[in-house]
Subunit: 438 residues, 2 copies
Amino acid sequence: MNALDIITKKRNGEKLCREEIDYFIHGYAANRLPDYQMAALLMAVFFQGMDFEETAGLTNSMLHSGDILNFKNVDGFKIDKHSTGGVGDKVSLILAPLVAAAGLKVPMISGRGLGHSGGTLDKLESIPGFRTNLSVEEFYRQICDLGVSMIGQTEMIVPADRKMYALRDATATIESIPLITGSILSKKLAEGIDGLVLDVKTGRGAFMQNFKDAETLATSLIRTAELNGLPTTALITNMDQPLGNTAGNWLETREAIEALHGNGPEDLVDVTFALAAQMLVMAGFAANVDQARKELQKLIINGKAFQKFCDMVQAQGGDLAFIDEPEKYPPSKIILPVLSEQEGYVQKLDARKIGFAVVHLGGGREVMEDRIDYAAGVVLYKKIGDFVRENEVLAELHTDRRDTVETIRKDVLSAFEIGEERMQKPELIFRVLKKSES
Amino acid sequence: MNALDIITKKRNGEKLCREEIDYFIHGYAANRLPDYQMAALLMAVFFQGMDFEETAGLTNSMLHSGDILNFKNVDGFKIDKHSTGGVGDKVSLILAPLVAAAGLKVPMISGRGLGHSGGTLDKLESIPGFRTNLSVEEFYRQICDLGVSMIGQTEMIVPADRKMYALRDATATIESIPLITGSILSKKLAEGIDGLVLDVKTGRGAFMQNFKDAETLATSLIRTAELNGLPTTALITNMDQPLGNTAGNWLETREAIEALHGNGPEDLVDVTFALAAQMLVMAGFAANVDQARKELQKLIINGKAFQKFCDMVQAQGGDLAFIDEPEKYPPSKIILPVLSEQEGYVQKLDARKIGFAVVHLGGGREVMEDRIDYAAGVVLYKKIGDFVRENEVLAELHTDRRDTVETIRKDVLSAFEIGEERMQKPELIFRVLKKSES
């Protein structure tokens, strides 16, 4: 077996066997195969694809390039949620303590934001003192004690993905369903979970901009996860406009706290409950989604979900003062309203533009090395379907960057399309996919 | 402009502009761009192709990564021939001195053999003392003095191709028409010639095994050469069976000497004359191909072609003793006949198998580092269309490798397909392509 033959085989559209995939992935992870051969294979996969069996093999091979967490001795159903990313997506911050309050164990390993898309780790780290770099032992103990912990990737988990992702980023091979599937699922499988719920986003602010692609990715993820023995449900949800009314790390964390108090915006709460309800059903904690929703609602009303969030923040070193009184968080130097120049109904609100506005306000990254201004971001006062008068506030910019804020005001204004036509609130959840349906 | 955008563009099937190609090729040649990004681009080109304008840009960009020979002050028409490679193809050894004897200037830069396919440099170096590594100054002076010189690639000529070819070889991106075109033509353009004749081979022993692919390559070569200002004619010729009656370096050199004496096998002489005649016509040394053939025939009969060959061998340090008396060349230790096991007409003679037999007899390379036994090879006594009796000699193996010769005898025997049906001698020259036709 050699790398050239494997590249040639995939290039010719043939199916790779498990041994060939292992040879390539493990050889690459161990620096026995050069970057250029992996780059050639990745581009060949981009063009020729992989079937579900190959994708499952790829995922498993990547998984075994590093450590796999073992929660076998931890009582209860271990479950996680993963989102393919979007703008204003602070669901994890609400959902993880919420389902932990219901009695599930949530060992959540998250990522950082890049480009227009935010990341859960950055949102958590906007809480002063919050540590996302727990050791595996600390993580394990917290899952036992609290039922929930949210951390970042460690060096030891799926090192093959770390290397491959950096290479894909430099070789235009990100946008490949089997490669995306392997990257997502290898990391989720490494959490040692019993079940997984996926939020596959589609629309302007999502990685998969059209529904068909999102459905293809969701199907690939479910089939691949099942072939690796992980029961998985996927929701395809709308990411045409940002989720909730905020985009930017602390602004979103604050909105998540509001939601845990029962005061979240409708779309954010709906998506969070839809995902969380699937998790309860999967774990056998509820007979169906409706019953699960009622249970979740109770945990919001009785304060147990918020309490779980506070316990987690405290356990991970975060300053509870800002959780108790979010208004005390140091604000941005500039808070600039974006006024509507016309009257009418919001027809469209471009999530992608809002996402990039957050980056340019200082709240995101253009490259992985950028530092983040946690307070920076956008607050949305109007969303699709809302009526707005001339000179009424559409949004608010939070930033310390005086010299670029005017440019960004124009960008954010242009993200709103306003017209005379009355608009329905857009559909939020397009489809729920499980094994039998996918 | 950056490498990732250029890879993405080609991956998406878009046309690259000249600046983008230059950025990538020159950046790579200068080690500013990493191998993995070039590997990704090469694989994207493999799948998406390049149009003639892009291919011409690629060729020109590769050409300008190094030195270009300048024969502007050398009187006369500078011309070269290039073959896409095959088995028993010793045409260059006859053709170069032949057309030089006719008054053309032939600054020929050739390659080495690899795999089943032989190389002109190895054949020349089978002559004791023959130097193929002349300096550019020596090469230039010899073209002025003799009108012909045959050397190998120098470090300074098209360094981009050297790097790219090694990378293509390791990334399964050899078989791409635009990349093959760029590799061949950048090196020919670097010779500073006024015209080019191509021998694009097709059949079992050729790189392009079917006619359609050979025609596509020939068209790409002609169009790309013309876009770079180099008048080019291509012949598509048959490489189902070896050309001439020998395969192996010294055996072929000796056959070339025979041909220069007027005693060459018919197919070898026909292909050589067809190519050489096109060169004379292109240079304006003959009104048409028939007139050119007569002129060439004269140069064989009057000994001028052979004399030019001797002058070149002498100028490049080769021992003329073996040119004058080839029978004095130290023979292989083993000369084993391959006897036919049946009676009939030779239906097929697999050039590829003969090519690999030469390698296994010691006369070729499996990898570029292998040393060559110049005396080793195969002499063919029967070719397609010939009648053979049981136990009559089909071929003769020349080798020092006692332990493998029996295996190779069987391989060579299996290269012959013998049947009852009478066979015509196969067609040799399928098509002549010029600018207007391609």
